[in-house]
Symmetry: D2
Subunit: 307 residues, 4 copies
């Protein structure tokens, strides 16, 4: 089935394939780059810790020892860093990506950063004459491996069109949202809804248990109807067992709620549900659950253990 | 494909088919009874306004002029009434269903009533020696027509087993939840989660619009990921247009939130998200939106029109 | 100073003083009746447990062995019972107050009951030809002893005028609010505001402590400015020490919040702050604090103890 | 009575009086400086718009044309600026206060600024060898005129002791809260409580009206009991008439709620009541009420006008 995708590979006018750089090979970056390599793309990788590059090199990837050398060698470079600080450093630091950029090249930042950071990086990249696209992803490790990510892109439209085949190899959906900052905003709003949904689901699970209904049955009933969401089916069974193996850390969910509330404040949009949900994530944090999965927010609604 | 279902039809030991009564032929009752008739079941109908029985009679249904005569004539009788008062009246009023019940017969109330009403009706039915099952449905007009309802049943287990084939003709899922009252409780909890989800989705739609993102794109992004719920895809596009064609009236959603909050109070379960959502439904009611679809709750989050 | 009040004593046309009955001599009733006796009023008392009458008898009160005999012997009878059930029983039960009532007499219920119970008692009293006044009090033990209660009255205006001198002996303020039920409603609203104020004060105390400020200083700062309320000065110092000696039980505050929210629902008035506060009282209840003072709601905002 | 205060005037060891500078003569600064002058203090004033200095000069104040010249000439200088930006500019800008400071001098910033700004100004002042005290005030125009302000001070303890007599002339209470930033934090917490109290009071007023009770009577009932706060008596009557003459602008109250919520976030303290109240202030802002008094938050709880 991957053969079909192979057809999407991209050649520029002179008949040579578009060369692709990939910076950052963590939990998300490695499987994303691997999917590009498997499809036959010409990929050059870099990672702060070189050893993480080895598996990809053995699969056919080229290697360069700095972001600058990767962008100098490639037509288009993707960057997947862990946080805004790393994204800034890799793009604009010493021997950073910007130093190798120039007219005709493109930089696609698929890291999740705030709108401000994204605009800063965009400014530096474009000052070199290159194009910029922010493209934060919705989806975690498994969708990354399966090429099922969702890209929320914004920035240079022509670059978006150029990299479309690559986005389609790594993901199942992509959205172009206009000016830089819009991708970050869309992602915050989606995560805000997600946070409130998890909090209300928690209320339902605990209420069902308290009135003598099996919460596992609630999970099943919910899965059959109009409010069925994959997240409920995925997280519900372990929540019932008070287990919260971390896929998306609670402290990150709370941070996104906070940033979304700030966004809402900035445009005077009332969001009472999200505000109430945010308080629950804060309670969960004060219970020491920052590094648990965000589904641990259910603990905030439980009474203290009897003495 | 309905042929497969036909095989599930039910005969009692002496070789004769189980006779089925159906009381109440409104928006939900008519298509439910019709699905039974189409599958070849022996169905006797009654409705307060007789004319609503005619289409079913023309499809092969028998008719009796009172609930009492229906239950006297049938092994098992289903009742689908609009509200607790009608459910009580049809079951326990003059010439009501109870008068025709007795040992060996069964009464299945698929109306949505509160736990208290359900227990009252159950008490009267069982005093006659018959069996009782509460079985409120999750799903509205379209699922009723398509035989895709979800039954949340509680009461006599043996009656549940007897009517299983009929439930499977009218619905796609069924749950047996124990003692009478549990079906009503489960439905309230599901609707509580639904109400909060709709409120948080409304926040997201308005926030996206305020920050300059197309809310239709948010609907689409949501539809691709872990928080995708059929309800969002179904209601989102019309909410963006400020249209709320009534499928589930807002006043009923608010009533269910209120009852669910009462249930939570009774067991001291905190439900801050649902409490905040309930306030939004109250705001929407005070805006004159009681009879609009419950998705009109989004209006509660909009600023007043400038004067 | 009580001499001034003495002047307000009341005589009817024939020159004889109005005789006063008092039913219920608990924490509130005893000091209230005592204040009437000290002022020279002609008081006849009754209490379910007779021994509680003895101190008042030694101060000059008369005694009758049933509510019926008290109301038969007195022009006006006050009733101060613990809850709606007791209020009903004493008024309308066997040998209850109603049996001794009749034209020309008055019954003043100073218990805190819901509007429904108040209307029921009113109906029975008025059917006897007598007058009725509901007059729940705002204030607890200390104000009762000091004659500093606030009466929120509703019902027969002429009876209100007749008993004004007695209300002024027992209290410092009185309000006439129209038809029966309005006194109960006013009291619920006042208690709703009080409940939210206590919850927000709790947030401030804990936040000040968390950021390294002395919460006792916050109590003092608050006491100097526009938001100074006697309740904060009274409860703050013990809240800082996590002590909650019961003056008004938390479960009663939560019940009043719930009833007030119900009242708001009935008129579609949004009350998001009270709804959020109610959830905190529920959390406190689930922590086993029902019988603590309502200021223990602050515990609902504390993180769980680290394990 | 002011004569008593006169006695508090301050002389340094050599027998000469402490000279006082005052920067910023707006709504608050003018009456504050005037009170110092009336008490016989040696006051030198400066204001961006010189004309505002004239009334004070006519009362005996000296004048200097820049903050630098004021601080160079005085032992202790007070600054009352409108916002953080002005406070920074006047202290650290060209010809700003810092340029005239040095060992033995003191700078008291009575403006309301955030903790961060306060720490910045403190850093610059102390680098000159001078002492610094942050001293935001609680109270508005009237208390400023009446010498009834409350000072929430933090910073150099010895400077606090030196200026005590001046604080006592301008205010009725003063608190020393430790390190710089604590004064700002205390003020935010007080305003957070105030914002929630106003929101809950609004709920009560509207609910009383909806159930047929006179909201003016609620104002009066509240004024008699344990929850009586001067703010309720002051604002209630005009709120009932839907009038909101601006004493404290709603947008400033909302900003303080937002900053207080941020403070709470930073220490993981749940504050669900304040979060819910903040949403109401946001609704009021979206109704165009930013510049009305903060009591206009009540409008956020009213249904839309019927069409």
């Amino acid at each position: 089935m991957r053969l079909l995708v192979l057809k999407q590979c991209v050649w520029i006018d002179d008949g040579s394939p578009i060369t692709v750089g990939f910076l950052g090979l963590g939990i998300m970056g490695s499987p994303m780059a691997l999917n590009l390599i498997k499809t036959g793309c010409d990929v050059t990788v870099w990672n702060r810790t070189k050893s993480k590059c080895d598996p990809l090199i053995s699969m056919g990837a080229k290697y360069k020892p700095s972001p600058e050398e990767v962008t100098a060698a490639c037509d288009v470079t993707f960057a997947m860093l862990a946080d805004p600080e790393s994204a800034m450093e890799v793009a604009c630091g010493k021997h950073g990506a910007v130093s190798g950029m120039g007219p005709g090249k493109g930089y696609v930042d698929v890291s999740t950063v705030d709108g401000g950071t994204s605009k800063l990086i965009s400014g530096h990249i474009k000052a070199s004459g290159a194009s910029f696209l922010e493209a934060p992803v919705s989806g975690s490790k498994k969708p990354a491996e399966d090429g099922q990510l969702i890209f929320l892109t914004a920035g240079d439209k022509s670059l978006y069109e150029t990299v479309t085949p690559f986005l389609d190899i790594m993901g199942k959906s992509r959205f172009y949202l206009g000016e830089v900052g819009n991708g970050a905003a869309m992602k915050l709003i989606v995560n805000m809804i997600m946070g409130s949904m998890m909090a209300t689901f928690s209320e339902g699970l605990l209420l069902s248990e308290k009135v003598g209904l099996d919460p596992n049955v609630l999970v099943e009933v919910v899965s059959k109807g109009a409010i069925s969401a994959p997240m409920y089916a995925m997280k519900g069974p372990s929540m019932v067992k008070s287990l919260y193996p971390t896929a998306f850390p609670l402290k990150h969910q709370q941070k996104d709620m906070r940033l979304a509330l700030g966004l809402a404040e900035s445009v005077s949009q009332p969001t009472p549900i999200s505000a109430a949900a945010n308080e629950l994530y804060k309670v969960a944090k004060s219970h020491g659950l920052s590094d648990s999965d965000f589904s641990a927010v259910i603990e905030a609604l439980k009474g203290k253990v009897q003495s």
